[in-house]
């Protein structure tokens, strides 16, 4: 069985993602100890909350280094969710300019309305436009909606790493993949059937 370490940076509840992973057949361990990442064969980096606080918590606990070690050196598959996906980037402008993990090229910027219809935060169900084949989305029906709740997005991601975009505020990157690193801006653990499909796919990658 897949041992999935869910990185706890002290900002939110992780029970629902842990339970979703267990329902998909994984063995979930919520942890804030770098050592626990060494025994995992999957890592999930979740998150809601503000970027600077999350980054500070990851660094103070030694988790930032441990994630990089496991992902870059050991090639452990990583799924980063919502704020977690943003933490992969080089930096974010949320609250104050802050360095991220730098695992993926690009930065995090505030969503800007593209007309009066676009309310911020982007909250609710929206679709993905797949830009390339990606095992994470195998069996997910075209046009399926996922649950989003965020005000910031990743920008400047190299084209070849963009997996899906979502048509809101002129369009933004809602899923990315680079080697063994995957990030999604939406919440698979709150997206019911299609979200569970995605998590199952992650476990079998």
């Amino acid at each position: 069985m897949n041992k999935v370490a869910i990185v706890d940076h002290g900002m939110c509840n992780l029970d629902s993602i842990a339970r979703a992973i267990e329902k998909c057949g994984g063995e979930a361990h919520i942890t804030d100890r770098p050592k626990d990442l060494e025994v995992a064969n999957r890592i999930v980096l979740p998150g809601v909350g503000a970027f600077p606080d999350a980054m500070e918590n990851l660094e103070t606990a030694g988790l930032a280094e441990a994630i990089k070690e496991q992902v870059i050196e050991q090639r452990i598959p990583l799924l980063a969710v919502c704020l977690g996906m943003q933490l992969l980037m080089e930096s974010s402008e949320e609250v104050r300019e802050t360095k991220g993990l730098g695992l993926v090229q690009g930065t995090v910027k505030r969503l800007e309305p593209n007309g009066s219809q676009d309310r911020i935060p982007h909250m609710g169900w929206n679709e993905l436009r797949l830009q390339k084949e990606e095992p994470l989305f195998a069996g997910v029906p075209e046009g399926a909606d996922f649950y989003f709740v965020h005000s910031f997005v990743v920008t400047g991601v190299p084209d070849e790493e963009v997996v899906a975009t979502t048509p809101y505020c002129g369009g933004f990157v809602s899923a990315l993949a680079k080697d063994n690193i995957r990030g999604v801006q939406f919440h698979p653990e709150k997206s019911q059937r299609v979200g569970f499909k995605l998590l199952s796919n992650f476990l079998s990658i």
Binding site: N13, V48, P121, Q192
Partner: protein, 253 residues
Amino acid sequence: MLKVRVLPTLLFKDHGLVKGIGFDSWRRVGTAMQSVKVYNMREVDELVFVDIMATRNGDSPDFETVDELADECFMPLTVGGGVRTVDDVRRLLMVGADKVALNSVVAEDPSVVGEIASRFGSQCVVVSIDARVKPDGGHEVFTHSGTVATGKDPVQLAREVADLGAGEILITSIDRDGTMKGYDLELIKGVTEAVAVPVIASGGAGTYEDMARAVTEGGASAVAAASIFHFTEQTPREAKQYLASKGIAVRRT
């Protein structure tokens, strides 16, 4: 395209779910866990769970109950009732709420919205505003489950809290609550035009057409309803089919 959400509202009182009329005459409508499981199975867009007695009784939110419900809830969950402090919000998020609804405390001290938004992000701060029509026209905000008048105008309060960092406004008409006579479209429109954050219309839904009008005429991003789902054969899924037939984008499940 962002979809219009249909949200069942679960009101909690004395360990069970209730539904009233005009914030009064509460009837028992089952247990919370049973409802969460049913709505999970039916894949509703989102759930709103409010403890209507917490503030009136001076209680804190019931963290244990929320913890149990959240564990079974694989859809977004907004929790309200008795939320007064940054620590209440932190604890609710830790037990599994995705968003927290602030109500009475906001009318007393709007600055708490900014404090919470800067700590946890705007995306988890819902400000819930309950309002009644005034005898001379216009609306007035009431708190403590509709029992305390504030003298505040709901549109102004909505604008103020959105500026402070609220991520969403849940606007409820106390007059229409439980009547199933349709939403207070004037109230909803006033709020949606005043703020740039999403607005959930609440209070009065009796038909699917009421929901469609809250979106097309009121400008709501989401529609909340309780009586229609508790006391009639109508369901969130059918509601969305109806909205889709009117050209409103909804999530298909």
